[in-house]
């Protein structure tokens, strides 16, 4: 019997294993089989844990890559949003600043006792030796030559200059600090009068001020109204230097205009019908005179 088993050992082992399998299947609900299953499971557990660890590591690695991609995408999106927001913020700030500026200008416009036309600066003078600007209102809007131009800037009102050339829809304004600009002015406190002349830079000179004029630093200078072009009392600037009394008939005083000419944006052109009429009449008269003279000459 034993020799038969060993002669067919391999076949017998297989038969035994098959029998064990069938036995296990038939008794798979028994407690002892449960122990056997649990024992094999516990033996295999470390391998499964190792496999799971590798799986989780791989999953973490790939999710990290995915996360990196999504972070990159989000970063790009946020940058774009930030750019959009900063653009909108800038536009909003500009609108706010413009609103504030226009509101101040409107208040100023209501305060001054003259008819005014609001205008905007279109362009500045390209030359270093002339100080003019071009505004977006012209003859069609009621602007005339020599009309005074004022503004309200940073909480201060001030004279800008005067119109020197008018087109249909634009006008040239000679700024106060241009060397060709001469305006009758007076010290607000002492009423001493002189003539404001530009220096092409930042300051203006108050010339022809009487030798004994009462003027001190920080005195406010306004238009005197002499000459009929500029109404009386428009703010020009304040005294920054007073010339010595030692010689000459007049004193010379340096004035810093209230207006910052490099920041001009919104302006008011004062429309004085009387001045307009007189100016027009004078110009017409001059024109007729010149024409007549030329006519005579030709004859």
């Amino acid at each position: 019997m034993t020799s038969f088993f060993w002669r067919h050992a391999r076949t017998n082992v297989i038969v035994v294993l098959l029998s064990i399998s069938i036995l296990l299947m038939t008794t798979h609900t028994s407690l002892s089989i449960g122990y056997l299953k649990r024992g094999i499971m516990n033996t295999l557990l470390p391998f499964q844990l190792l496999g799971a660890q590798i799986k989780f590591s791989a999953q973490d690695f790939f999710s990290a890559i995915q996360e990196l991609q999504s972070v990159r995408e989000e970063n790009r999106r946020l940058k774009e949003e930030k750019r959009q927001f900063s653009l909108e913020r800038r536009q909003w700030q500009e609108a706010l600043s413009e609103n504030k500026r226009l509101k101040n200008l409107l208040n100023y416009q209501r305060r001054i006792p003259y008819e005014t036309v609001a205008a905007r600066v279109i362009s500045y003078d390209p030359s270093n030796w002339a100080n003019t600007i071009i505004i977006d209102k012209g003859e069609k809007d009621g602007i005339y030559r020599l009309a005074p131009v004022v503004t309200y800037q940073d909480g201060k009102e001030g004279l800008v200059g005067r119109v020197i050339g008018v087109e249909n829809h634009s006008a040239s304004v000679l700024l106060l600090h241009d060397q060709n600009s001469m305006i009758g002015a007076q010290i607000l406190r002492s009423k001493d009068k002189g003539v404001i002349e530009g220096d092409n830079y930042r300051f203006c000179k108050l010339k022809f001020l009487p030798y004994d004029a009462e003027v001190v630093k920080n005195d406010i200078v306004v238009t005197s109204g002499d000459g009929g072009i500029f109404p009386k009392g428009l703010f020009i600037g304040y005294v920054v230097r007073v010339g010595l009394k030692d010689r000459g008939l007049f004193r010379e005083v340096d004035i810093l205009p209230f207006v910052k000419f490099s920041k001009l944006e919104d302006l008011l052109v004062i429309i004085n019908k009387e001045i307009y009429k007189s100016t027009f009449k004078k110009e017409e008269k001059d024109y007729l005179t010149i024409t007549t003279m030329n006519g005579k000459g030709n004859q």
Partner: protein
């Protein structure tokens, strides 16, 4: 040493099937790596050894499965024996192995269902047959992927 390597491969397949099963599942079907490995083993080893490795693989699978303990041990032992027998008729090449994988997967599944119907009274439906076919196809695809590895390993052994 040889046996240790093969038992290691069996454990590796078991881990793959249990831990990574959800990754390789397609339409609710996962391949039977162990059966594929047993067939590859059977094509180069004796019938006895194939039966042993089939039994070991099956009993390990049963331990980790909620199925009846011994059902896979029984079927995989049988599959090992059959595959080893087929080897005697056909030479080891890709076609014969793939055909064996496909047919033996069908046979194993039918056997499992037969045993299940005996021990737990499960009913085989048509959808189950489709499922078996898909498993057989999936196993065949796995066989295609695994074949070069074993083919090169065999060359190395020789």
């Amino acid at each position: 040493m040889y046996w240790a390597i093969w038992v290691g491969i069996v454990i590796l397949c078991l881990v793959l099937q249990t831990v990574y099963g959800n990754i390789v599942t397609i339409c609710g079907i996962k391949p039977d790596f162990l059966l594929v490995i047993i067939i590859f083993f059977a094509f180069r080893r004796s019938t006895f050894e194939s039966g042993i490795i089939g039994f070991i693989a099956g009993i390990l699978q049963d331990s980790l499965s909620g199925d009846i303990l011994g059902i896979n041990a029984f079927t995989k032992l049988i599959m090992g024996l059959i595959a080893s027998t087929i080897k005697k008729m056909y030479a080891e090449n890709l076609i014969s192995i793939l055909l064996s994988i496909f047919v033996l997967t069908l046979v194993q599944s039918l056997l499992i269902f037969a045993l299940q119907s005996i021990f737990v009274k499960s009913v085989v439906e048509i959808s189950t047959m489709n499922r078996i076919l898909l498993i057989a196809l999936y196993n065949t695809v796995i066989g295609i992927l695994v074949f070069p590895i074993f083919h090169n390993a065999k060359r190395g052994e020789e």
